[in-house]
Symmetry: D2
Subunit: 485 residues, 4 copies
């Protein structure tokens, strides 16, 4: 279900990618390229804001970067040497253009643009208080809360106002902010969402992933550190750490699925970690089989690792179409499992009579896994074993990832036997949480202060969930969105 | 395998795919699904014609099947139990909607719809004669010639008129024809382009490739034979062979690149043949290296074959984006090789310091190969060896494949040393023509009556080229297209 | 005069306007302007074909001239010093783009473009015979018959072929034809539809009405005569009359409604004739009243004539909106007569307590008249008298005018009393047929050879109606259109 | 009256029309109809907000009401028994969708929607102060100032907050406001812009003009009085007058040009006043001539008045096309005065050799007048006299009317002789300011407290112009718009 169409896909989805460039002629063109490389982090909408030393220019659009931001006239209109942008994935009801980032406001100090990857977990509580005092919200986005906190802050300088705002918010945030004085990139004290910094000649670049640096030809410099504000002003870069220091907890799912395999996140190559997870899986859950088959495309690196570790040959047993659309009419019941067939087709000549090990990165609802197992059987597979390159996904994420409600998570409803039955596999195994940490170079997951946020697997949330304590933050914003549309 | 953006890609391109369904409720929906599975054979335009027992219905559109034929209203309007369709790839100037197939005409006998994969190599000569006698052409397509030959034939029955027309045309044609009396599928006497037949319950299905049968859930029955007409009328299937029997010459490039890896063409699995070509390549042109890296996606099966034969590990050293658009502005010269970077990015962490063997299916102009070799070097590769899973492409195709003029073919301009220099590789090798035949189960290419059309490699064209004798058929039609637009 | 929304309007509608320019730089721009001035003759689609001395260029579009042909890129692409164009009004089902004129074909002699105002009344019979002999029709338009007759004519020169074709067709036709050798304008032997000729410097201009000459700044020269072919070749103009001479019968409805009031048709100013019809109406059917009120806009000239003759003041008692769209939701039954109110609103302050005479040009179904009478009463009119500036419309037109079937014509169903009751007027009167001829300078309508085609009023058709003898030509083509769409 | 293409038209333009309906099922449908009838007050954009007792719903669109708000799905989505809407005319740069009204905000008290006709002349000063205190503006519209004043007001009830806001603003405003508690309509203390109130069954309707009441079938009740707030809550209507009473100064240009001729504004029929201005003009500036010719359509009522007073016949000497688009290519200099010819054409047969009096409502730049005089001469007029049904327009308007800068006003640059020369007329006359007041039933214009705002003629502005004192309000907002786009 796949990739062309994120909405009928059985994956968790990163909700955003951000990119900024400061000090480069044609900065908006760099941002467009960078966002294009980050498109997998959000396919629903994109936006770019530039500053030409005098005026801010913004263009936002529903849809992909290509098709919207590869037009000369649009890029030329985004004049200036400083620009930032955002790609967004979001659930229905919150998709209006006014929610597309970067958000922009005219403050007393001048223009203020902000692009945000993450989720503020006390946004509703803050919003109610701001409205009570006369602030008028334009969007249903949690990010707008930050702007109003800055606008109404009693501090004198813009930087102090901004830090004042950050100190009031909870949750996950990697931010790129543009003001007439310069660009600020920052990462929340736990560093939940990634953010890296690079150089392209004299220009300073910020991006959610290193792959975006590669595409524009920039050199990777370092990750922005958890709790750090990097300020670029008149070509000078300086760093501020206004928060009490905490042990970082970057999101472990970036290595499991979110980031592109050619990215390096917090010093670990995504591709290598995924191969290593596959190898761990082969060690923990071996199986006697003829072929190792990846579920394309996200299962490929782990399948290579599994094949190399086990010695079973890696083969393309499932072929994926690049031309998937939304829906096709199904004439009667003659055509079954159509969605999955349009995207994936069994390589029948290869599979006939073989014992196969399927490798996928994760299971969310299990619906796609079921269809793929059935597809293997219909193509004549003798046995179908499924191996998953992450632990069972049992908990919702409140830090900027689109998770189905818990009741829909396969692993929240069934034990391993139940899941195996549900997907009709001959066997099913997940990598262990310790196996996952091993693939990242740890000996095991520490019970106290584990090195990563793994709440979706363990339920161990690293922050308080203010809005969520009341009910669900997601629900409140969804209601809000519905009421004002 | 398939590319998001065929236009900046260095490949020969199949110009068409065809699909027909007779005797199934909602036939047009099956055709839409089938065409979707054949989308890699033509991304520029698509069309479907149905017959409801009384009236013919046609919808044609520029663009992909998804987005045009996945709409309920369009499919419902294409009523009836018989339908056929066409996907088309074509060069600029011939892309007007009136050239999109199926072509349709009202003859005295009633409606006549035709979908064609291939190219008629004496179409210009026939057209001039028909116009002289008062025929008026609607399109610049060679296919329309067939319709006018049928309309003006002196024979009495429609079938005789159709055979009369076929006997006057030369070249490559797999056809699906619909008349009020039934559906006719046929393949030229040499069987240059593929065509298969399947069953879905009582319905009879024709398709360019078996993958389209898989997607609709149909069972593969057999290939339509070279020179055979299969007639489906009132649920009955019969076969006619009106031509003198010739030794078949199916296009060998279907196994090299055109067909999807999960298709079986004339009894050979595409995936297996490609893997075997890779293995032959490893035997013929071994190299000492650390990694075997496919150029995604079309190089993957041969790379697996090369890796398994050579024992060098298969790794994803190039990551391909699924979100490629047409063009992006490039700000100054800071961003080099942008086209290829948007689509392909080096897996830097993997490649650094390694000797790599790149596997690609073919080289046409060589421009993409050059960029990919440079990308490997910039990512730190110690050595870059290129291995190509087909012989050098030196000649134009006149049988329905979009080939650049000879002067642009890298192998027509350079010897192996020149080509190696051009792409900046440490070494370059192509599989031999005999190696290619070996992968197809032959001991070698027979000088007399070789089993396949391999004219693009050998210049040995299996038919006379009537229009081409005068000048180039392609040029004449291009001029025609220009004059009437 | 013209209506924003012809479809909820109670008028007969001219089906076409044509315009040609030969010998002028940028001829297509002149044609676009000319067609714009003829837009009232056809609002559904427009097309222009140009010839640059080497190639023909065509652009056709559904919709108005403005919005389609006021774009630089489109006009520039229509290169050359010779061009012709067409605006079209047509009924549903025949509106596909391939029916939009000029029609174009590649004949042996080269390109052949044709624009037609009128209707060929034996087109179906000719078409059947042509198809039997192998001709393939692209459209459901009667005009295409002419092209196939030319293509298959046994005569040697193109001009002879064209005359051969004309001699086989019956009905009404004003034509502009373009070939590589020059432009031919012609009018059927009865001159049913209008066609005029003018000069703009060295260029020769043809147009359906003089208003199109005015707009491009051309000088009116003369009408093309019934049965005349005017040939423009290398700047030379010559005239041929290949038909036996007949007494002309131009369509009298051009003066009643079709042509613009600022046009002069066959030596009579439209505006003056309409005013004179109003005066005749005042003489024939006087009424004691306070105000003369035109139904805007087409009733205005006759109302001025009525007011001047009767001495009753002319006043704007109905205000017409320029912003009418198709339909608006009507919430419950609170809002009555909405269609007419959106377009027309009573000038309430003026009408209150007054006796009013409404002047309209014609009544077709009577539905609009009823609504307007009611609107006057609701606005407080004391008496409402309706006077119509044409005789009762009782018969269908088969010469290129869109007429409802006879059963829907108010005057075919009711006598004067019945019509008066139907529209709820205090009195109703139509100008007499002799009064109409008087307004055109005749003493009365001659029973033998009347000077005009007035078949819609009298049923006296000036030609045989071949297709119509079989059933209705309109119906046959409508069925044809339905079958092939 | 109304023009198809306002941009090549030489008129001042009203910038807005507003409409509200409270207590009617399907209120949004009524608003769509009402806005359609007010389309002449603003053609650039339209918006409707409804309230269904629980949620607010808004739809805004660039373009006309028809084409945007005549779609079932859109109207159905605007659920509820209370709705208001707005049509907008505006200059380039301020046309973004976020400026289209009704503006909407979520205040602590709930939703707040506002539609505004007029212009706040101290909006810039207020905005700067609000931004200083932390308010964030979404638009460049002066109207948004009101919302922020309400949001940040220290008063307790929403009504008190709203009055608090109104007391801080200066200039012209007719407002319709919607809150969860009900609808408020109000008019500034001078009543500069119009606003009327009507009844449709139990529903209360507010509209800029009575013509909008006519179209929905509502009965006119009374004008909202200058300085009055009318509050509709649970079906009850009450009235508040929170301002010190001032002598009203309604805009006199409503009678000259802005309002539709079938509207009644502050007890005077627009059509009758215009006819009376024409009669005054005939008395003040008679001329010996053969024909009185209106410049269509806005000059028609005054021309009828002039003709009736003078006894010279009223004739349609200029025919106006209903199909005017933006621009057409002009091939070389052969086609002169094209813009005006596309829209207006001389009725040549009528004018030839005649002395004509042209009647127009006003002259702004004079460019159209020049072209029309020339058109008359080219059509053969013996003499061309121009009479204008308003005094010379010499001053800019700051109350919601789009006026060119003073330097472009013909009457600000030239005396009568200069103007006569500029337009090439044989004579030119304007009605006197006293003549204009006479047509409205006054004996003359009172020097002290004249009854109308006539600042565009006299420069006598009835309010202070706070922003304008600093520089031009228009310019500041234009700069603002440019900076944030």
């Amino acid at each position: 279900m796949l990739t062309t169409n994120p909405f009928d896909d059985d994956h968790l989805h990163e909700e955003c990618g951000i990119f900024g460039a400061s000090g480069s002629e044609g900065a908006a063109a760099l941002v467009a390229l960078g966002l294009h490389a980050l498109q997998h982090r959000g396919q629903e909408a994109a936006g770019i804001t530039s500053f030409d030393g005098h005026d801010f220019h913004t263009h936002r659009a529903m849809g992909h970067v290509a098709g919207n931001f590869d037009r000369d006239d649009i890029i030329r209109a985004l004049a200036g040497e400083v620009a930032c942008g955002h790609v967004r994935y979001s659930t229905t009801g919150e998709t209006a253009l006014r929610n597309v980032q970067p958000l922009y406001a005219e403050l007393q100090s001048g223009g203020f643009a902000i692009a945000h990857n993450g989720n503020i977990s006390n946004a509703m509580r803050l919003r109610r208080e701001l409205v009570r005092r006369g602030s008028i919200f334009q969007s249903t986005s949690d990010t707008e809360t930050i702007i109003h906190l800055v606008a109404t802050s009693q501090y004198r300088t813009l930087l102090d106002k901004f830090i004042d705002a950050l100190k009031q918010i909870e949750g996950a945030y990697s931010l790129i902010v543009m003001t007439p004085e310069g660009m600020i990139a920052c990462r929340d004290p736990l560093g939940i969402r990634p953010l890296v910094m690079g150089r392209l000649g004299d220009a300073v670049i910020f991006a959610s992933e290193t792959v975006a640096l590669d595409v524009v030809g920039a050199e990777f410099e370092r990750s922005v550190e958890p709790g750090e504000l990097v300020i670029v002003q008149n070509g000078q870069v300086r760093s501020i750490r206004p928060f009490a220091k905490l042990a970082p907890r970057p999101c472990i799912f970036e290595w499991v699925y979110f980031s592109r395999p050619d990215s390096i996140v917090d010093d670990h190559s995504i591709y290598s970690v995924r191969k290593e997870i596959g190898a761990q899986l082969a060690i923990e859950s071996p199986v006697e089989a003829d072929l190792v088959i990846p579920v394309p495309d996200s299962g490929v690196p782990a399948a290579i690792g599994y094949a190399q570790q086990s010695g079973i040959p890696f083969e393309l047993g499932i072929i994926r179409s690049h031309y998937v659309g939304r829906t096709f009419i199904q004439p009667g019941d003659k055509v079954r499992h159509l969605g999955v067939k349009l995207k994936h087709n069994a390589n029948r000549a290869l599979i006939q009579g073989k014992k196969v090990v399927l490798i996928d990165d994760s299971i969310v609802r299990g619906t796609t896994s079921l269809k793929i197992v059935q597809m293997m059987r219909e193509a004549g597979a003798a046995e179908v074993h499924m191996r998953i390159a992450s632990p069972p996904t049992r908990h919702s994420c409140f830090y900027g990832v689109d998770t189905p409600e818990r009741a829909k998570l396969l692993a929240a409803k069934h034990d391993l036997g139940g899941m195996t039955d549900f997907i009709h596999a001959d066997s099913l195994a997940f990598v262990s949480i310790d196996g996952l940490y091993k693939a990242l170079g740890e000996s095991h997951r520490a019970d106290i202060r584990p090195k990563y946020c793994d709440a979706c697997f363990t339920g161990d949330y690293p922050t308080t969930l203010t809005d969520h304590d009341e009910s669900s933050a997601v629900d409140q914003f969804a209601m809000l969105a519905e009421r004002v549309n």
